[in-house]
Structures are given as C-alpha cells and as structure tokens.
C-alpha cells in the first residue's frame, strides 16, 4: 500500500470512528435532566442566636430530597451566596415578601456590626441574609438581627420559597447501582411563618425526607470461603437515658464473645459519612480508608441495618422514619476496645423518631445471618422482650404473661379437696353406704320374709280354706 492510499484509509477510519462516536457525544453533551421532581419541604427548624456577638438569627430549612449539590454530589457550602452558579437561588427565597437578592443588594449595612462575617472578607458575607448548605438536604439561613429590627421583622415574619425555584441535582437509580440526573422544581410558592413564640408554621403540607440510596462501592468477597463462628446474644442492657432533656439514650447489645476489637462508631451510617469523619479522628478513633472500605466490603453495614429489628422494624426502616439526619439520630457502634469488644451500642440521639420509651414494652430481634467484624455469625434469630416494670430484656415475654397464681396456704387449712378431709368423707361415705346397703338388705330380707310369711299364710289360708 502506498502512502496516499494509506492516508486515505486512515481518513476513512477517522471518519467512521467519528460517525460512531457522534451520538454518544451528543448524549454526553445533553445537559437536560432525564426527569423532574417537585421540591417538597420537610421541616423548618430552630430560631437561635448565632455568631460570637449574637448578631445573627439562625434557622434551617429542610427539603424532602437532596436538592442542593454540586455536580459530583458534594455540598455547596457558601457557594449558594457567592458562586455565580448558585447565586440565582437568592431570587427564590423571600423574607416578608422581599427576595434575598433584593434585601442584600438594596439594604444599607453601614450601621451593621459584622463580627462573625467581617466585611474584610470581601463583603460577600457582609449582607443582611446569608445562606449556607453543608448538606444537600437543607440550608441554613442567617439573618442579621439589625435587619430584623430595621425591617420590623424581629417578631413575626414570613419566609417564602418562591415558585420557579429549580435545582439540578442527581439521585441514585432504582437498584442503587449508579446516579441519574434530576431537576427539582417548585411549582407553587411555599411560605413559612414564624410567630412571636418562634414557632414555625407552613402553608403547605410538609413531607417526609427521603434520602437517596447511597451507592457504596463494595469489593467482591467470596463469603463462602469465610468460616464464620456461631455467636449468641448474651444480654441487652437497660435503655439508658443519658440526657433526659433531649431524650438521648443508648443501650448495649452483648454477645457471648468479642464481635469487634476495634471501636467503630457510626458503623450503621453510610460509607460517605464514615469516610469523611472517621479518617481524621473526629469520631474518637482513627479509621483508615482501607478499614472503612472493609466494613462495607464485608457488608457489616447491612448486618447492622438489616439484621437487627426493634419493635418489628429493621434499623434501616427505623432510620427511614427520621425526618432528617437519620444516620446521626439513630446509629449503632461496634463498641470494641472503647468499652467491651463483645458489644454493639445503640444510640438514639435527641429528637430521634425512633426514641425508645423505657416505660413501654419493646422487642429486639437479632436475625439469623447477622455477622461481625470478627467473622461471628448469628446462626438462629434471637428475640428479646423489654419489660418496662423490671427494665430487663428477656427472651421470655414476661410482660405478656398473666400474673402467676401462688397458693402457699397451709395444707391443714381449708383448701379445695384436701386429702385427709376427702379421706374422712370417703370413709364416712363408705360407712353410710354400707349402712344404707345393710338397711336396704335388711328391709329387702324383711320384706321378703314378710312376703314369704304372707305367701305362706295365703297358702295356708288357701290350704286351710281349701
């Protein structure tokens, strides 16, 4: 083949390749989301002082989905206020009818103190209203107290999310194997009102938050090669309320042998949470990424979330009831060397929907297949029942049982069919029966004798008569 011919073939090949790739390139360039969903709201929470000089009032708005995120799914932080890609959002949030953009662009803040966000930072945050989002599911709103006073909104005011708000986000597909883009839209303005008692109300129905299933990369493990050791539940501690004011409590599930030597906090949470908090020692223990990976590779998160049931619900199902921050409101830890390597500690943080009332009966099941970091495995499901009277968990549902009957009355006292009494009665009956029988017999014999005598007399009479 000569050089020109070779060049021609090469060009043809390029052309064919380009033609083949073209549809994919078009698709990849397509920015439109594959679906849209209506934005819902779950909760407006708090009305607290914030900042060193307490010049801010802080509250939180929770969405029903993870609506605020960067392209890679991470939080947007203060970009909601200062990044061109997100500042448009300011148009869709209004206080007493004025949008955040309007307030921030048209309010003279020269008399404001900015100790928390000094104007030296560039003026971005030296505004009456600041948004911040450390989680895709909610935003934090900080309003300068001076603005509230100046605008007369320090007592009762409204906070509206305006029709037309949209965000581009992503969520997981049905089998949680990958992400799909989603656009969240708000078709109708929603208004929250704070009253003089700092209670929030909403003019729309609030809806429960639903977290997207976290996509967890897991190594392929040959579970059949693992020789699991059969383990058993030994006991469960009382439900211990350690902060009555916030209804924070914990309880400890003990097995018959060590289940994890290492202390692994928040082991029931997603991998993302543990990765971002465990690796830096923020949780009281240093977890390497490999150690975190291994927890999910060996499906130990599934063990905690799907193989323990409280009052008939798995931990996963219980967490789904939490309106917000499920992994931090109800979480399980492998206690490890922090207290007892045989145990798993359950925490119900303040405000958890799953809070266990110690004055009520409860059940806790550890299901067959529950596995541990030390390769223990529960071979047969075990159910425990909490008796609020004794505050003890037991495999026997004591509270469901009727009160036992005790009869310790002396045998010599009247008590039903007492032995000696019956014996006397029986003996008496025998005597009476014998007497009656004898009487009847005598009577019968007498009667027979009388009859025979009569018969004889009759006969005699007859004979005599005859």
């Amino acid at each position: 083949m000569n050089k020109a011919k070779r060049l021609f073939v090469l060009l043809i090949c390029f052309a064919m390749l380009a033609g083949a790739l073209f549809p994919a390139a078009v698709f990849a360039a397509e920015k439109d989301p594959v679906r849209t969903e209506e934005i819902g709201f779950t909760l407006m929470e708090n009305w607290a002082d914030g900042g060193d000089a307490q010049e801010l009032k802080v509250f939180y708005l929770y969405f029903s989905r993870d609506v605020l995120m960067q392209e890679d799914g991470s939080s947007i932080g203060y970009w909601i206020a200062d990044n061109a890609g997100f500042t448009y959002l300011q148009q869709f949030f209004a206080i007493n009818g004025r949008t955040m953009q309007d307030i921030n662009e048209n309010t003279d803040t020269s008399g404001y103190a900015f100790s928390t966000f000094p104007s030296s930072l560039g003026g971005v945050y030296a505004v009456p209203v600041i948004f911040y989002s450390d989680s895709p599911s909610h935003i934090q709103i900080r309003i300068h107290e001076q603005y509230l006073k100046d605008s007369g909104a320090d007592d009762v005011f409204t906070f509206s999310v305006l029709e037309g708000l949209y965000t581009d986000a992503r969520t997981t597909n049905e089998d949680a194997s990958g992400y799909i883009p989603v656009r969240y839209e708000l078709s109708e303005t929603v208004t929250f009102t704070k009253d003089a008692e700092n209670e929030w109300t909403c003019d729309h129905e609030l809806v429960k938050y639903e977290a997207p299933e976290e996509i967890i990369e897991r190594a392929d493990i040959d579970f059949s090669a693992i020789e699991y050791e059969t383990i058993f539940v030994n006991s469960i501690s009382d439900i211990i309320v350690y902060d009555a004011a916030s209804q924070s409590e914990y309880m400890v599930l003990y097995f018959d042998r060590a289940v994890s030597n290492q202390y692994i906090p928040y082991a029931s949470a997603g991998k993302k949470f543990l990765s971002s908090n465990g690796a830096n020692g923020a949780l009281g223990v240093t977890l390497t990424q490999a150690q975190i990976d291994s927890l999910y590779d060996y499906r130990l998160d599934l063990s905690l979330n799907d193989h323990i049931k409280i009052d008939g619900k798995t931990i996963r199902e219980m967490k789904e009831q939490e309106p917000i921050n499920a992994d931090q409101r109800l979480y399980l830890c492998w206690s490890g060397n922090s207290s007892d390597p045989r145990s798993v500690t359950f925490y119900f943080a303040g405000g958890s929907e799953s809070w266990l009332d110690p004055s009520e009966r409860h059940t806790l099941e550890v299901l067959e297949g529950f596995t541990t970091p030390l390769f223990g495995r529960v071979g047969a499901s075990q159910t425990y029942y909490f008796d609020p009277d004794t505050r003890v968990w037991s495999e026997t549902d004591l509270a469901s049982l009727a009160d036992p009957v005790y009869d310790w009355a002396p045998q010599s006292a009247p008590n039903g069919m007492e032995g000696w009494a019956i014996a006397v009665i029986a003996a008496a009956a025998v005597v009476v029966a014998a007497g009656v029988a004898a009487g009847i017999a005598v009577f019968a014999v007498k009667k027979r004798r009388v009859r025979r005598a009569a018969d004889a007399a009759e006969k005699t009479d007859g004979e005599e008569k005859g």
Binding site: T230, N234, P373, L398, M417, A423, A426, V430
Partner: protein, 800 residues
Amino acid sequence: MKNRMLKIFSAALGLMLGAAVLSGCGLPVYDHEGDAVHYASSDAGFADFLNDFTRRNLRYDEESISDPANALGTGTGFAKNWETMSLIWHNSTGNVLGNDKQEAIRNFLRTITQDGYGMIYNTHNIFMAGTSNPGEGVSQGWPFPNASNSNGHAATYEFNYAAEANNWSVGSGGSFSVLGNGYAAFSYNAPQADAAFRLVNENVTTGADPDGMDAKHAPIVEVELSYTDVNSAIGSETDVADVSLIWKTEAGGDTWYSAPQSVYATTPEQLTYSFASRMFFAMYLHENWEGQVITALGIEITPKSGETLQLTDGKINYIRPGYDTRQSNATYQFLLALGNYIAYTNDTGFLEEMLPKARRATMFLTHALQGEEGLLDISFFYGHNGIGNTAEDGSLIRHTGDGLGNGYWDILPSAAKDLEANSYFYQALGVMADLERRAAEAGIGTDETVSVKNRAPKGSAVTYTYTPETLDALQAEVKTNMEKDIVPVKAADGMYVNEGGFWNPATGRFARGVRADTGAILDYGYIYLNEEAVAAGIGTDAQRSSIMDWVSGERTVEGDTSTGEDIYFYRFAPRSSTMQNSLDYIWTYDETTTWSRSVQNGGAVICWSYYDLLSRLSVYGADNAFERFKGIQSWYEDVLAAGGKGTNFYNDYYMYLETGSGIYQLQQSGAQNGAMGLDTEFLESIMLHSAVPFGFFGMDATEYNTIAFTNNLPSQLSWWQIDNMLYDGVRYTVRMEKNAFIIRNTEGDVPEGSQLTLRFAEPEGGYSVTVNGNKSSSYTVQNGYVCVTIPFADTEVRVG
C-alpha cells in the same frame, strides 16, 4: 314392679360399694391451685414446712431470704449445677419466679466463657473498668488470693496514675502515656522493618523483694490490652506476628525471655487487624519463669518477617501478676448443669448446639487435669498443693503462695488429688456418657472434630475421641481408684504425692487428700464431701456403711471433736466437719479457727442436707432419711415461730441463740463470717427441696425422651405429691402412694415419644401390675424393681 325396684337398689348399692372400694385403694388426691412448685402429703405439717422453705428459698417474692442481687439463676459457675438441679424440673419458667429460670440457665450455659483447654470460666470474661482492682471481676478464677494478698511479694501495674508512666519505656517509634482514666495509651510507627514494639519496666520490684518479684507469686499474669494495626483491615492479614509478655530474671541477667500469647495465654487469640483481649498468661509453664526472680517485665508486639509495624489506638488497662486461682469446679458444674438442663427440657436442639462445648469441657478434665489417668489431678493449677499453715515453736507459719482452694471451701487448701474434685469428675463423666448416648439416639451428628490446647506448651492440640462406652469405663475406673486407700509417698523432690485413692482406713471415711509438704492426710471428717461421694454412688458397700455410721453417730472416730448426736448440733444439717482444724487454711485466712465458729470448721450449711438425705436414703433407706427430714422440719418450725420475715427470717431466730460466742453466727459474705450457711450468698440452700424428687421420688430423666420415678415412699407417709412439675415443657403432678404412682394434671402438648418409667420395689410373694385400673403384663423386673414404661400422660400405676 317390685323386682325392678330391687334391681335399682342393688345397682346403687353396687356403685356405692365400688366407689368406696376404689377410694380405699387410692387415697384421695389433694387439689392445688397455683403455678409454683408445691408439696402435699399425708403429713400436712411436713408439707407446710416444705412449701414454706421452698417459697423463701426460691427467692422471688417479699419472703425471699435474700435481696435481689442473690436471686436464683444469677449464680456463678462454681455452683451452677446445684442451682440448676433445684430449678430445672419444676415450673420455673415464664414469670412464675420473677424471671424465666430456664432461660437464665440456658443463656449461662450457652455464653459462659471457655478457655483453650476447655475450662469453663466462673464468670464471663468481660473487660474491666479502667480503675478496677486485682480480684475484681472474677472470670477464669477466684477473687482471692490475688496480688494484694501476697504480703508484698507480687506487684501489679494498674496504670491509674500518670506517675506510673515513669517506670515504663518504649523504644524508637513508640509513644506511651498514662491517661489518668485508668488506662495507658500507646502507638507505634516502627523505624524499620522487623522492629518490634516494646513496652518495658526494667525495674521490677516488690514491697517484699526490692531485687525483683519471686515468680512463685506470679504464676499467672493477667493483661488487658488492645491496639489496631494501621496497615490492615477486616479480612486482611495483620502485620503482627504475636503479642508476648517479655521479662528478665535475676539469674538470666540481661537476657530477655518471651512468652507469646499464642502459646502461653490460656485462651490464645486469633490475631486480626485489631486486637483487644483480657488475657491470662500461664507463665509458670515457661521454664524461664518458674522458680525465677523477675527483674524486668514488658509487652512485646512483634511483626511478621519483613513487615513494618504501625499500631494505633493502643490501650492497656493493667498488667497483673498474681496467683493461679483457677479451679476445676466451674467445668464439672457446667457439665452437670447441662446434663440437668437437657434431661428435663429434653431439648435436643440445645444439646446439638452445646455438644462441642461439653466435649471440650470434658477434655479439660481428662487431659489438662489428667483425669484420663484415672483420677483428676488439679496440680496443673499452680499452688494447689494442700499446703496450709504450720506451727513451729508456738508460732503460726503462713506459706504464702501455697494451698490455694478448689471447690466449695475457698479457704481450705486443696491437694493435688482432691476428693471433691474427683467426686464431681466421676459424676461429670457419667453425665457426658449420658449426653453422648442421648445425642446418638436423637440422631445428632458427631462430625465436628473437637480439640483443645495441649497442657504442655507448644504441644499438639488434643482431640476428643470418647464414646459412651469409654466414658463409662473411665468413670468406673475413677470410682475404683477413689475407693482405694490413700497413700502419701515422698517424691524425689521431697514433696509428697498421693499414690492411692481417698479412703482413710484409720478413720473409716474418705479423706480430702494429701498435704504436699508434710504428707499429712487431710482428714478433718468432712461430712459433706463424704456424703457427696456416697450420694453419687462412690464407695464400696462397706465404705458407704462406715461413712454413714460415722455421720449418724453410730460409730465414733477416735480424735474427732464432734461425735454422736453432736454431729447434728445445728439441727438443719450435719456439721461440715467433725474434727477441729487449726492449721490447714490458706495463708490469707486470718479469721477464727475456733471450733464451730466457721462453716468450714464444725459449722453447718443447709444445702448439704441434700446429700445427707440422699446418702441416708441410699444406705439406710427411706424411713431413716425421712426421719432426718422431720428433724429439719422441727428446727424450721422453731425458726418460723421466731417470726422472722424476708431477709431477716433466720436472723430473728438466731439473734436469741447467739450470745456472742459466734457459735450461732450466720455466714454472710461482705457482712460477717459465721458458722451457719443459710441465706444470702448461699443460693444453693434451695437444694434441700430437691431431695424430695431426686431422693424420695427417685426422679431421673437422663434417658432420652423418658422421665423415670422410683417409689421410695417412707412408711411414715401414706401419700406424697408434688404439683407443677415440668418435663419437656409439660406441667404435671406426680403423686406417690405405697406401691403406686399417679401422674395427673398434665398440661401442655406432650411431645411425641415422651415416656414415663415407674419403678417399684418388687413385692414379696405374688403381685399384679395395673395401669389405669387394668391389669398389665407389660412390665419388667430389673435389679429388684418392677419397671413399667408407658407413654407420658395422666396415668395411675399400681403394683401389689
């Protein structure tokens, strides 16, 4: 018409006469309303005593003789059999006794810790609080003696105060500090491959020995330690090769010796990426520890070849050198408790689950404690040599580190070959044979290979190969050996060993063992230990008679302090011993040795009346045993009359008798030592009521699917009845009359195949057997007993 009337009268008369005949044949029954176990008998006062005693000792209501901390079902391993045999055969389930006792027993048996040798711990091996002390949280052994009893010979390292860090150092790459919360913390970044982490104290001293620590006072070193291997994760190999104790000795100079946990820990850990263990190093098994003076001590974490260690989250609670307080009790008590549980629940699923654990426990007795040689030898536990105190020139010499206890009496030195240990070993072999037979009948597979750690360090694991037949044979051998005369022999090392059994021909009873330093036979007339053996079937006929004649006062043993009627001075039980013991106590015991002032020395414990009654029944017969039982009733009625309630039930009676002498002092641990064991920590007091079913009713459920009774009704009673019995989940009443057994009130689903075997002494002359009123020929005669086996149900069987 007249004839018909006559027929009706005749029929009525027949019925009445028939009823009269029947009621005369079977005595009328006693109907009981209630859920807890309950007794009734033709002697109403006796039944009332039994019921009142049982109620108070079941410890579930306001009349409990103990606070809730000592509730039944909470007992530790050393007494688990006694607790189980008093709870498992009656309706102790559900909420009848407050909590479900069957559940409590099952859970204990299932979860109690077992070490590598197969030994069952006394309590679960849980981690200790940071600021715990030696002797607390007993797990593998007993609370004392510990380092604090060593008279300054042993030192422990608790890491409770920052200043303690001064004595310890780590090498390059290591960090170490004492946190002030009861723990020390460490981490390690090895400077190069193959470098080990070492935490050492190069200046080991004790109060008594400034040059070092005599290893005699530190045969066991307990360590609670944890760390995480940074370079590893779940499922991956760890870089750590082993965790070891390291030390130097006076004789070895600068040489460091090492005892890896994989060899010397009683329960070696399988090393994973993270380590956390409360370990017990059996240091006395190391040739460079035993007999040495320890001058330096430390922990070494060694890497695998070529690896560079990185350890984080290192934590040490303590390093505790101390005495070897392990005992054989918890292991055979476990086996016997399991036997009882399985027998009366007939729970084959639980048997299958527990069989490997039971086999390992058996191996501990036969291999580690050398029971396979024909007698159990507890000298595998360091310091269990029977050496008590000695008197020299009027002074009491205490032998610190010798004469550790094993068995019910924790302040009495146990000899290497110990009577009580062997009595229970004998019983445990029988139970294990029964369990194996039951497993075979129930179709439980025996595929799993069970092996235990070799008693010799670095020896190969030892595999369980016993069958019911070999266990039976070993049991018979143990019995024969125990019945041999005791023979102290001086060994080459100058110490005495017992080359015989336990029979002391000089006193006509079993002795406890041989004291190793003097060869003295430890025979203080221990009644409980003798009767325990007799009740278990140990002893030739002549030996058993000799023992019971001594106990009953018929025979006087020369030199005994208590003889004749005085043996039953305490009325509720015979004295524990009949001869004054002034010297043979563990060195730590510093209380009175005056006669009849402590439960060990002429005092009495009510639970041992169980063995007294069973021994009398076995040797003298039911009438004699019942007469003794009536004696206990008489005492009990005097106690009742004093009006004591609840936890003061006995106190209120004895406060009038105790006038400061101490003779009538109740033993209550934590409060007072005393001569009488009745309440509080004496959970086993409830055993007395078990003498009724196990003794007089001859109850036995060791055979799969079968519960058996043997009629031992004393002539003083015409009937005896127990309500709310429980077998295989079925509640029932058992009633015994002369030559009759009646089962009534069966409640619950009787499992398919459940059988009842009823045994009666074969009557002299002609007799017939009736089952539910029908004459039956389906019976056998075995060893002088007529045996009737029928389906388990309401039934009535008479022989006569």
